[in-house]
Every structure is written in C-alpha cells, then in structure tokens.
C-alpha cells in the first residue's frame, strides 16, 4: 500500500476571476511533518480548506488516502483532523461539553476518550469554565483536543501558533512533536513563523502568490543552507583580520549591521571566542545560526516581494 496520504495534482482555485492557487501539486507521505511555507495571502489556507472539503477545486484533483470521489474524500476525512483559522469551540459551552457534542457528531462510542484528550492537551482541570473565558492558547489546545478525539492519522493545522505567547508556542510545539513521534500522526502545518517551522518540520512546501515554488525535505534544506557562526563584538571591524591572521579562516563575511559570519570551523566556537578575547576583542554574541529556513526562503523568493521582520515573520509587502 502506498504511503502517500495526500496527493494534490494541478490544483487551481479561483474566487470570482481572482486566481488564488495556481497549478499546485505536492504529496504528503506517512510520518511527515510537512510545513507549508509562505507569506500571508500565498494560498496556504486555501489549499488546506480544499483538503478539508470547505472549498471545491476550480481545476485539478485532490486525493486523500487514494480516494478522489466526493464520498471517498468524506470517508478519508474521518481519518484526518483539521484546525483551520478559528479552532473548534462553542463559546458558551465548557471544554467537556464541546468535546461531547463533537463525540456525538463523530459517532465515537467511547465517552472516556474525552478525558484522555483533555489530559493529553492539559485541559483536564478547567472544570465548568466556558470557552469564552479561555485564553487563546487554551482555545487552541481545545481545538487540538477536538481534532484528536477520533484518533486521527493525519492532522492539518493552519497557523496553530498564531497569537500564542512564547510559553504557549513551546507547549503546542512539544505537543505536536509528541503526537508525531509517539502517536505516529502525520502533520501538515502552515505558518509564516519560519523559526517555529524549522523546529518541527521534516519536509517543506514553499508557496508564493498561489504557486508552489519548491518542495524539499529538511535534510535537503540543511544541505542547501550554509550554517555559520554569528559573531558580534565590541569591535566588529577588527574581527575578520584577527581571525584570518591567527586562525587562517577565510570563509568570513561582514553583514550590514557590521556583525561577522564564519562559514568554517563551525565546531570551534570556544577557540574562536578565546582568540578574539586574547586579541583584545570582547565577544558580545557568538552562536551558530538557527535561521536557515528563513534565509533559504528569502533566497528562494527574493527580497523584492517578501520581507523578513526580525528574521522570523514573513509578510507580503504592500
């Protein structure tokens, strides 16, 4: 049996005469955490909505678990779960009531499953608090609890960390990694917060202006990206000369903010730090870069259409 769970081929979507997704083709295989990467308005949510059956393709086919018919797709979706835009939540109901309604609607006979998923997402102690009094993170976790109710094999999540505080982002990230590793759930996740995706994904689909511009695995990405040591000192202008003369390092570049990048001897941060110090330069920052995905994305789409705010968030220039 094929391990391809989602197969999108030549998918086009037009609203009125406006084409929002054009000729998109990609596959999601079992076990992946696949990131849909692109700025706001790139078409990520449209693709996810089409996977969920909310919008119908103008052209092309969507295959879920090998099914392409309307009936087959609906049946395949019972093995999947989605969180797109707002998570599932009736505001005037408690977490338990929300899940009970969902349980009835999905026809899940086991009532204990509600306790299991509440515990899994850490909402077991919210009692009779209605959802309207939940924090955004709690609502997001309730959405995930609802999604997990029927023990899905595949999760499709649209911007699940949007609006969360740093603690909430870490919680959701750890939960998703746990679900992928322990429950073997395949995950498709969209976000424009690339630093978060880089901590999660095994594969990437890059989208820009409704077109898929590249698909590649995390391994392929790391091969295509250059890792480097970022150095910022009290006197950045002296750093290249010192490192060239003392350590014979030639792979050096100076950035616009005058910080320095080293592309060689990446496992010798300690030695580099000591060398600088001995030559009267006080290092303020020395670390391996962790922004590969962002920079790769920038190189892929170019600076003319996309900007990178603080190196983390992508958005279309207006």
């Amino acid at each position: 049996m094929s391990d391809v769970l989602i197969d999108v081929r030549n998918f086009d979507k037009q609203f009125m005469k406006n084409t929002v997704v054009k000729d998109a083709s990609f596959q999601i295989r079992e076990g992946m955490i696949c990131g849909l990467v692109g700025p706001n308005g790139a078409g990520k949510t449209t693709i996810m909505k089409a996977l969920g059956g909310l919008i119908l393709p103008t052209k092309g086919t969507i295959s879920l678990y090998g099914e392409t018919t309307e009936k087959g797709l609906a049946h395949s979706r019972t093995r999947m779960c989605f969180i797109i835009e707002t998570p599932y939540a009736k505001q005037n109901m408690t977490a338990r009531q929300n899940l009970e309604k969902l349980r009835l609607q999905k026809g899940i006979p086991n009532k204990d499953r509600i306790d299991e998923v509440l515990k899994l997402v850490g909402l077991e102690n919210v009692g009779k608090k209605t959802v309207k009094n939940f924090s955004l993170g709690m609502k997001q976790r309730l959405g995930i609890a609802g999604a997990l109710l029927s023990k899905p094999e595949l999760m499709v999540l649209d911007e699940p960390i949007n609006g969360l505080d740093p603690e909430g982002i870490v919680e959701i990230r750890e939960l998703l990694l746990k679900l992928n590793r322990e429950e073997h759930i395949t995950i498709v996740i969209s976000s424009h917060i690339l630093s978060e995706l880089s901590l999660l994904c095994t594969d990437y689909v890059f989208i820009r202006k409704g077109e898929i511009i590249k698909t590649l695995s995390a391994d392929e990405l790391s091969k295509q990206c250059h890792e480097y040591i970022h150095i910022h000192t009290d006197n950045d202008s002296l750093v290249p000369a010192v490192l060239q003369n003392v350590l014979n390092i030639t792979g050096i570049s100076v950035e616009k903010d005058s910080s320095v990048r080293l592309y060689e001897r990446l496992d010798e941060i300690r030695l580099i730090s000591e060398t600088l110090y001995k030559n009267g330069i006080i290092p303020l920052e020395i670390h391996m870069n962790d922004a590969n995905l962002e920079e790769y994305y920038m190189s892929l789409v170019g600076d003319d259409n996309v900007q990178c705010n603080e190196g983390t968030v992508l958005s279309d220039k207006k």
Binding site: L54, I55, A74, I84, A89, M93, K101, K106, G146
Partner: protein, 264 residues
C-alpha cells in the same frame, strides 16, 4: 445524519437560548389565558373558543418557530463550527438534512406546545364547545403541519445559503411582518385571494384557522357565534399540495446551493 441530529439535540439542551425561548412561550401562553380571562369566565373557555382566537397565537408561533429554525441551522455556521463537521468527514447532505430534521422536530414541538396544548387543555377541562364541529377543528389543526414544513424548509434553506443566523433573524422578522401586512390588506380587499395563500406559510396557516362565515345561534339559552361552513376540500388540497411542492423546491434548492458552494 443521525449523529448530526444527536449532536444538535445535545447542543440545544445546553443552549441558554432554548430556555429563554421556552420561558417566552410560557409567558405568552400565560398572558393569552389572562386576556381570555378578562372576556370570559374560565369555565366558559372551550376548545372551539380557543380555536376561534388562534390567529393571534399563530403569529407569535411563527416568530418563535422561525427563530428556532434559524438558530438550529445557522448558529454553527456563524461560529464556523459547521466547517469542522465537513472537515471531519461528515457529508454535506447529513449536515444539511440533519439540521433540517432537527429544526422540523422543534417546529412541531413548538406547535404542539403553543397551539395544540391549549386546545387539548381547554377541551378536556370545559369540552369542545359549539362554535365549530370538533372534526373540523381537528382537520384544520392537523393540516397546519404543511405550512410548518414549508416554513422550516424555507428558513433552513435560507440559513444555509446566507451561512449565518443573525441576518436570518432579521430577514425572518421582516418577511413575517410583511406577510402579516399583505395578509391584512389582501384579506380585506379580496376575501379569497386564491393561489397566493398557498405559497406563503403564514397565509396558509391563517386561512386554515379562518372560520369564514359566522352566524349568531341561540344555544342552551345563550347567543353564540358559530361557524357556518366547514373547511373546504379545495383549501385543504391547495394548502397541502402548495406547501409540499414549494417546500420541496426550497429544501432541495437550498441543499444544491449548499453542497456546491465554498464554505469559508
């Protein structure tokens, strides 16, 4: 579809609006009985007397029933939780018809509570009375089901097309008020306004309870108004056929539009 209905029943049971609506119904019925009490002694209120005054309650019934149908079909679309039903693999057919049948069930329950219950209660308490034959009352009441089905189909379809509840309430209120005004004008100008009354639910319902010609009779030593005519076969046929045909058009038209449209 059965699961959708079960989930809807659970939601209705846990919805504060259900209890507000039930309180409103009780309040309205209590107020109606109080008004009756100002004109008649309690022991004089018979089933047929209640029937002859049903039109006032019927208008309120439609307000409540339309609100209930729109809430059942629209509230999950307004907060987008219906999107998750689609994404979790529930067929659009089940989502649409599951809600329609739930709405129809509550429309009928509301009809039983607001219309049938007072008739049965006062008939049991003080007898049917002499204003009209008992059989005629039963037929006229039973045939109300057809305009109710049509009303439920129309507002279910409308709510699934506009995909929210709030605009549905406004449209429902405006429609019902307009129907009432047109009904008043037409019934004054043209006592029998033909096929038109079989297309709009409120018209059909009022036509069914309209006793037509009344005459003064002297019964048991009292002067009472009694109905001269029983309900006509043509009215019953017109209401039932007109209702079912238009109901089918609304119901399936709404479904086709819902099943072929994007849900954003």
């Amino acid at each position: 579809m059965y699961n959708v209905m079960k989930a809807q029943f659970y939601q209705i049971k846990n919805d504060i609006v259900t209890y507000i609506m039930a309180f409103g119904v009780v309040l309205l019925l209590g107020f109606s009985i109080y008004l009756f009490g100002t004109d008649y002694a309690f022991s004089e209120i018979t089933g047929s007397l209640v029937f002859s005054h049903l039109s006032d309650i019927l208008v309120f019934y439609y307000f409540f029933a339309i609100a209930a149908v729109i809430r059942i079909c629209g509230v999950d679309q307004a907060d987008k939780t219906v999107n998750y039903e689609i994404m979790f693999g529930t067929k659009r057919r089940s989502i649409y018809f599951g809600r329609f049948f739930t709405a129809l069930f509550f429309s009928i329950i509301l009809f039983l509570a607001m219309i049938v219950l007072p008739l049965v209660f006062f008939s049991c308490k003080n007898g049917w009375g002499v204003i009209m034959p008992e059989k005629d009352g039963i037929i006229r009441t039973a045939f109300q089901i057809f305009p109710i089905i049509r009303m439920t189909c129309f507002y279910s379809a409308l709510t699934f097309i506009i995909k929210q509840d709030m605009a549905g309430y406004i449209i429902g209120f405006v429609f019902t008020m307009t129907e009432m005004i047109i009904n008043l004008i037409l019934s004054e100008a043209y006592p029998d306004f033909g096929v038109f009354d079989h297309v709009i639910p409120l018209f059909s319902s009022i036509q069914l309870i309209n006793l037509g010609n009344m005459s003064l009779s002297y019964i048991d030593g009292k002067d009472v108004m009694t109905a001269v005519d029983t309900v006509s076969q043509s009215l019953l046929t017109g209401v039932s056929c007109g209702s079912l045909i238009t109901a089918a058009v609304f119901l399936f038209g709404g479904y086709i539009l819902f099943s072929k449209s994007d849900v954003n």
